[in-house]
Amino acid sequence: MKHRNRILALGFCCASALPALSDDLLATDDFAFDTSEIEVSKPHWTDGFKTTLEHSHTQIPAEPSREQSSVRLEYESNIADGWYAKLDTRYRYFWDKDDLAEARGDAYGRNKLQRAWLQYSRGACTATAGRQTLIWGTVEGTFVTDIVTPFDYTEQLLTDYGNVRLAQDMLVGECFVANTQIQAFYTPEAETDIFQHHPLSFTIAPTVPAIHLDQDAKEEWGLRYKWQGGRYDISLMYAQLYDNTATPVINNNSGSTLNDDDANYLPEIIASLMNTGSLPPGLSVEAELAKFDLVGVASTIAVGRLLLKAEAAFRDNQLLRFSPERTERYDAALGFEYTTSDNHIFNGGVWATHLKNDKLEQRDIQVITMGWRHSYLNDNLVMSVLGNWASNPRFATATILAEYQWSDYWSSAFALSLADLDESSKDLPVASAEKAATLSIKYEF
């Protein structure tokens, strides 16, 4: 009020000052920017195309590195009224020093058709047929219900989240009615080759036939019902699925005399192999792909700056390594994401698994994830930190990631990973290296 009166008093008492003030505010001598120097991008038929060239190198001390180059071509377009098509294919070259190339014996190239689908929309429903990914679940970094399209562990650390998956040939139908979404999928023959690009087999003893982990899965299908409100949503899921990789199991052909109080027969098999050079009588080791039912529920709740996520699932007929046993499996995950007023994003989650088989020594597994993310330099630099800890096999990892967008075309990413692994987790085909540095350079146009 004082300010207002002062201005008015100035206007009343000192009329001679008005022109100067008036000139200041009504003058048009501001900074001038000729906006015509910025070209306007017009729609063009090539707009649907996108090409990405990328080179990525992971350096692991005293171990084979990972070195891959790729060219990716994407095309998507509205091809007719209600029809949409997408193609996404990527050729990767594995240099001779890449660990996958070393395992295969030489450098090699491989094309991966990630997406090739046709979508048709009519009324409230849409059908998508072809190679695609289907992502379920809410808590990132956990695989409670997000197992329809498995992760492809031949991919590098810095691969896009959507591209890191092993796409499936499937038909997905969705209907949207008010606040609900009903989704169904059918996969005639599921892809399970998540670790290797060549036949994977191993031998446990010269006298024992090699175990081939390449197993063909058959059809999978599932349903999801999702209801979404303003602050929260809930999904119910059911699916008949195959495991994403084969498990070596014990086949008890004629009833063995082994102690069946323990689900893990491996120590007794090793003892037999060392003593006799053969498996215990009546036993054989075979690779098997489990077929199981999944029942799941997932929910997200937004409370101001806090996002809470939860999901739970039940799976039957789960296979146990080197055991004739089967088990039921219960998974639950809780996660949160909190955005501060200055846009630091913190997230975390707890994922717990319970295997319902009394013969198992380790029936409960816990995984904890924590993360942070923030953008700097006009959003050109994105820094993030991710930490994981798991109880069985026990491991802890931490990754620091810096992604920098140099221009509309060039970007790079640098990641440093540290892992603390126990002996059992080192045998895992996807185990992290204890120290690794990854640099990726990308050109997109």
């Binding site: 920017f33 707009d47 509205n78 998956r165 937004a302 996002l307 006009n378 509309d408």
Partner: protein, 298 residues
């Protein structure tokens, strides 16, 4: 006589004070009404609209009063659909899809904003690299702080409408500004706005005939000149005046952002279902609907 004269002088002063106060109140009322009318027009533009815009950002150099980009501008092209809701049409729903650059193509954002400051903004992001819709934690209108729009110098605060009750307005000047008659209106954030704004004061140059902005100037919390916005290529589209070329010059970061509305249609029928999560993932449905709206592009 002297007493009468004194009384007369006192009465004159009282009358003068009354007149001054009335003028001040009238000034405030007028300024408030002008801003509300301008804000209402802004909401009408957003009610059933489809725009294709290009947002360019660069660091600039200055020679005299002329400024130029000193680096290749970073360019984002996006298509946006919005619609107003609620009894006063102060709630809004909008969806934006990024078309350029190639590295960000396909990213979509769906946002519901509510006039009620206690109600959370609801937003969902579709990241094409992720292939999944992600709910965002946005906070409420009360505690949200301005954030950059797609990495540009524009912030969410610069794009807001419907908050005219959160400022005290005052007409500072009126007269010719270039070839248009304008009011120059000062806006001082009220305490409710002061906690969440990065500005201590804003000046608006409002076209008297069209009720559109020709220029705006903002000042930071220390009172120093901060951002200057200029509005050009103002056209009448479906009876609404729209600036198709807006430039924001950040005097402190020495960066500028230019938003060109390459194509626009307003007052079209946008079905409510389009402003739902379906649009983010159902590409066939989205393109089918957008194609039917693009026919009205101007």
């Amino acid at each position: 006589m002297k007493k009468l004269a004194l009384l007369s002088t006192a009465a004159s002063i009282a009358l003068l004070n009354l007149a001054l106060n009335s003028a001040a109140l009238a000034n405030e009322d007028n300024a408030q009404l002008i801003m509300e009318k301008m804000d209402e027009q802004q909401r009408l533009v957003s009610d059933g609209s489809l725009t294709r815009s290009q947002l360019s950002t660069c660091k600039f150099g200055q020679k005299d009063k002329q400024i130029n980009c000193v680096e290749t501008p970073r360019v984002k092209v996006l298509e946006s659909v919005s619609k107003q809701y609620g009894p006063d049409k102060k709630d809004s729903k909008g969806v934006s899809i990024l078309l350029e650059p190639a590295s960000e193509r396909g990213i979509g954002m769906l946002t519901y904003n509510y006039d009620d400051p206690g109600r959370d903004t609801e937003s969902w992001l579709y990241l094409s690299a992720l292939g999944k819709v992600k709910r965002m934690a946005s906070g409420t209108g009360e505690d949200s702080e301005p954030v950059s729009v797609f990495g540009s110098e524009f912030t969410t605060e610069d794009m807001e409408s419907g908050n005219t009750n959160e400022y005290d307005y005052k007409i500072l000047q009126e007269g010719p500004f270039g070839d248009r008659q304008v009011w120059v209106i000062e806006a001082i954030p009220k305490p409710v706005r002061a906690v969440k704004t990065e500005y201590s004061k804003l000046l608006y140059w409002v076209d008297k005939e069209r009720y559109t902005l020709l220029k705006a100037q903002t000042y930071d919390k220390r009172g120093k000149a901060y951002k200057q916005l200029t509005f050009k290529n103002i056209e009448k589209i479906n009876d609404l005046w729209i600036a198709r070329d807006v430039t924001l010059i950040n005097l402190q970061s020495q960066r500028l952002s230019n938003m060109k509305t390459e194509a626009i249609t307003t007052n079209v029928e946008v079905e409510d279902e389009f402003l739902t999560q379906r649009t983010l993932t159902d590409f066939a449905y989205r393109e089918k609907t957008l194609e039917s709206l693009r026919k009205y592009f101007q």
